[in-house]
Symmetry: C5
Subunit: 361 residues, 5 copies
């Protein structure tokens, strides 16, 4: 059986820290990590672009004061102190900060006075575990800036960075809201890769189930089903969320960007459709497996029945003439032995014929 990866725990992770803690207290509930949290900044306008890796919170503050659009990307959310400092510098609401580090928060958008807070989920298909890992992504869209928080170094935003660097794309000409859209779009685009990963895996199993079904396969089907349940939980609320963003009358989102949000909304529905399809297929695989197993069982049972029903009567006949009665006239017949063989063969052929007629053979 494929090993269960460490991440795939059944146990729900704790949502709001210790019970009774004051709301807004930062409690990181994901896997403890030790690597340093790196902050990267890209500041750009239609004509210029500055890129700086590994900056401090103070440097961030300077960037935010500059004109143009500033994108601050935080690679890790386990350094609560740093997150706290950044939150203070941006004057984020305590609940926003709680949600940034709470990896079990479901996708949502919240509008505050100064910014819109967007929670969404990354997906990455893990080749080793053959399952999709879900990661927590937070975006803060303010006036002229976007701040993105990633749980890990695994980075879905590389292509966006490339497009920013090439001076001639639409993205450079537009505002921070388009950048936020572009980041969300990149996240959703990765969904398709992840779903395809699972899809390939399911196809492999499907092929095998027909030819050589094994108990491990059905275990994996169960595991994939559970995985897809998790993914659905990541995508379903996202759909409503993007729909709400599109409808919301916020000065931070301009009409031009909203057309793109509608497109993103379509993509999210498409991802949901694919997940539902995969779920249906997995349900079908379970049926296939069960009927495959029961077919096999039936074959085995038929074999037993045929062998047993043919030979049990014959053995009885042999047993009869193995009895030691003194007066058994057949035993004295010259051709008795051959006659008995004849009878036994006739019974055997008769039975096989009967089974053939009944389509059991």
């Amino acid at each position: 059986m494929p090993q269960r990866t460490k991440r795939q725990k059944i146990q729900p992770r704790h949502a709001g820290g210790k019970p009774g803690l004051a709301p807004g207290t930062l409690v990181f509930v994901g896997e403890r990590k030790t690597q340093k949290v790196r902050i990267d900044v890209i500041a750009y306008s239609e004509t210029s672009l500055t890129e700086r890796a590994d900056v401090s919170v103070d440097q961030c503050r300077d960037f935010l004061r500059a004109p143009g659009v500033v994108w601050i990307n935080v690679n890790g959310i386990h350094d609560l102190e740093l997150i706290g400092a950044l939150g203070a510098c941006l004057s984020l609401h305590p609940l926003t900060m709680e949600d940034i580090v709470n990896t079990s928060q479901r996708p949502k958008t919240e509008e505050f006075q100064e910014y819109i807070y967007i929670v969404l989920k990354m997906m990455a298909f893990g080749e080793a575990s053959r399952l999709v890992k879900v990661e927590h992504v937070s975006l803060i869209l303010g006036d002229g800036y976007v701040i993105s928080f990633l749980e890990d170094e695994g980075d879905p935003f590389d292509e966006v960075r490339q497009r920013l660097r090439s001076a001639n794309g639409r993205i450079r000409a537009m505002k921070a809201d388009y950048l936020a859209y572009a980041l969300m779009d990149a996240v959703v685009d990765h969904y398709f890769l992840a779903i395809e990963g699972i899809g390939d895996r399911i196809e492999e199993i499907d092929d095998r189930l027909l030819t050589d079904p094994r108990p491990e396969d059905i275990q994996e089907v169960h595991r994939l089903k559970r995985n897809i349940l998790d993914l659905r939980k990541a995508v379903w609320p996202l759909r409503e969320e993007i729909g709400a963003l599109e409808k919301r009358e916020s000065p931070l989102f301009c009409a031009e960007t909203k057309v793109f949000l509608r497109d993103l909304y379509d993509h999210t529905i498409q991802a949901i459709d694919m997940l539902e399809t995969l779920r249906d297929i997995l349900g079908g695989l379970q049926d296939t497996y069960l009927s495959s197993m029961s077919n096999r069982m039936n074959e085995v049972m038929k074999m037993l029945t045929i062998i047993a029903t043919i030979f049990i009567p014959l053995t009885f006949i042999a047993g009869v003439y193995g009895m030691n009665f003194e007066h058994m006239p057949e035993l004295k017949w010259r051709r008795g032995y051959y006659l008995i063989w004849g009878i036994m063969i006739a019974i055997g052929i008769g039975m096989v014929t009967y089974f053939k007629k009944k389509k059991w053979l």
Copy 2:
């Protein structure tokens, strides 16, 4: 087992091209094809009709300037350059063009300043694969023109063309919105043919399941179920879409055409009803198959039980008198052998009677 056709892949096709590409980038995600994409044009008014096959994009532009209704039909969407040129000439929104070539886009309608964009799905029952193939169809309804994009040469629009050519139909007297309706109606009419194809197939299997159930049949039931799931995804959103078109206050759709849209809406619901019925029937077939299989198994098991329970005790008796003890008085009895036969026959008859009473035989 019928071979799986190349198209029926489990793996969801990629929706938005490579992740992170700028939105509006044209990425064709269907099967690569090499044949030339042909553009046909029909321009007509109540009194005249001009038909031209295989025109260039420039010629299209000329047609669009003429009065009357122009219908441009594009047979293929894999030539991204040509689609791009056409899009530019009609000043389509980049997202519309992305959706035209993205065969995994689900049915929808989008209203832009200059035109209404309609995505729907064609269905064709493939005799070889005995499954329904779903194809991507896009319609663009502008002021005085309709542009249709088909994925393949397989053409659902022939009858519409015939009706256009015969000068006396209602279609010639009406505007472009009626043409768009007529094209959608032709697509939906083909649904019924495709659904009937599946229905015939299901009926065949249903007949066989009762008389001679085979594992292949249940495999095909699973395959058909999956196929119907795909079809539902093509029809369900279409229903909402047509309902929305009917309600939308667009200057492009006149009231007279809306009555026909309501009729089309009815047809779509009918197609959904049929699909749901087929789905229910397939579910019933699975039950039939399972109970058929288990009936058969029960018969086999009963046969085993009867043979075994009759002969096992008899064989034991024969075994007893096959023992070699020196002092076994029965062996010396003159009529011992016949007595034993009598006992054994009595036991056999007794058992058969018991089974008959229990209704096992």
Copy 3:
């Protein structure tokens, strides 16, 4: 197994004729019939009543011009020419006429300028097929007239006719809308008869399943389930339809009649409730059948096990003393044979006791 009647085809009937036909083209999709379509007319006011059977379309026109309420009943919809002529005489919309002859049209109401068009479904329990047959009924309610179209001669409207003939009922005093209501009410009242027919049939099967389950019964359960699915499709939309009629602000329906529509709405819900109950019961019957079958199987298997497990060891013992070794001291013992019998009987009794303790016997 009861024969499948001709009508109960799985294959969905074609909805809109040949694909691509102009909408409004009349295509009859039911069973081809040859008998003549008869038109009956009843014209009445509070004080007078004229009844004429087998009238021509021209005579209909004359009746419609007269004051009072006119009810035209068309017994058959397979004579497209006659339907067309009648439609022309009443200036019906082409789509209405398409729906009148399209027996696969689901229940709906449509309001046109001059009339309200109502589609509903008749139900009749067929004694031979032991299934409910669904028929297509269309009503057209105009100012002062009602036209009803029946698929067949089988006529649900006899009681309404009786009430019309007796001069003192409420029906004679009221307008055409009340007549339309009365006809719909008669149709819905027949639902209860049909549902009771199925209910009786289900009760018969239920009784038998407990005492003597047979594979045919489960086949019939499946068939009845499918039948009920069809009926639900006939009743569910009717409910919404009547609800809509009640709410609609049409001059053709007066407030007094709407109270009765609400009552009809209640009856429809009751019919739905009964169908849902029957469906649940059928689901329960399947469970009963399965557990009945598996109980029986378990009994059979237990019998096999008990016989086999008792006699297999005994046969082994007999086999041992049937061996031909020269040095087998037990064979020489005077009481060896009786001893062995004792041992075998003891083993037999021990096993039976063990099985009894385990509650297997």
Copy 4:
């Protein structure tokens, strides 16, 4: 198997009498009864109370003219003449009277000019049938009077009567709307008794299923399930109905009573919750039964397998040395017999060990 009570017929009872009868025709569809229908009247104000049993319709009319609140309780609805007379005296709408005697009418409220008509259902757990019986209750709330119609003598209103008689309760101080509420509350309170009755029954079965599952139990589970389906149909519409009463702007219900209606609404939801819980539990019991049965079957099969797989090879060995070949050297060996015993015992122990290792034993 517990006998099926007469009431628990599968067949749906006819709803609207003979098909085609004029609406408003009184048709009693319950069980025919012969006992006399008794009318009891209580007239009260804050300071006085008059109670009269077995009054005539004319006496009712006199009571209704008096000031204060009048409660007329009709114990039986099978005397259509009496109901008709009462309806005429109160000028009830014909459809109301049809619904009063139609025991298959589902719960609903209807507001007429002069009164509000309320249909609800009584529940009583029958000790003999161990099922809940559903009865039809109608209430008519007019200005200053409440009329209640019960199907049977079984009377849920005793406690209300007691409270009326004791002069100091809230009920005497309030209007007819509060009395109507109190009657509905009494009916709903009886639901909990009935549901508890079923709950006790389910608990008994649950206990037995774990220790000694029997086919009768699963039959009873099915029966209880069907019973709960019936109860749900009685409670679900009641909930909506009370919700609607609370929201409706009727002069007959004052604001003070509406607070109590909200409480009643809560109780109804609680009853629904309990029914749903019981339904889930019954579903679980079915699973328990099935897994219990299959566990038992597995044990039986294991026993068979172990006995058979141990002794079949041993019997073969004994059979070999029972052969009568002239040249079988082992037969001549001095210790051949003991050696063979040793081999057979070794094989037996080996097999048992193998089974233990495989955890089959």
Copy 5:
């Protein structure tokens, strides 16, 4: 099998006391307890805090007159007299008091003139029963005070008390509405602990089901499922309730607190998500168990089949040569015995090879 704890009764507890009691009558329906009900009071403002344990109702009244926020916590609801006195002192509506002591009341909020009444449910994972126990909690939020009623001494509010005592938290600076929020938040935070408790338990079972499935495990799965059904009933209505509180325009809840209510709403949804996940997992465990059991059964059956089908024919052969016919030439052959061994071994090897080819071995 783990013992069923006393609390986990199937039987629904009675909701509104004896049927027909006047509404507002106090009836305690939980477990009878005898310990004294203790009332604790904390009165605080931003600068001061007074804490008093075990106060009388009269003392409560004094506290309520003081400025600042007063929190009265009642540890037990089985002393109906005390609850009645407290209710009178606060002039609570009779229905509120009925709901405070009615432990089967589902979560809800009700707004009265003077106060908001909030019902919610506590959860505590019991280590002994390995199930979650649900307790009844009532909150009354008035102008300047919060009164909380707990069913038991088990107290979820300790952390809130700690935060109140430390003078520098946000809680001291805010009004009674924030205190009510903090108490609800504490209750909801405990949900996660309880759900984790179940989650751990499920994980244990999940691990065991794969390696060593036992009937007890599936019994526990059923028990946990039922438990989760109960929990869902506690959380689902809470969600709507908090959503309603957030939207309600009550002067008792200020805008600042509503942001926190939204956060609480998120937490509730998260709890629901976790419960749904656990439910799905339990459903999966049932499947795993069943397929595990049937795998095991299949293995057992295969073993039987293989042993039986190999040895039954061989035993027959041995039986044949154990017959006592006088003329059996093979018995006289010098190498007959060895030949027969050879044939039997060949048949055995042939069969094993056949089984291997069929992948049964």
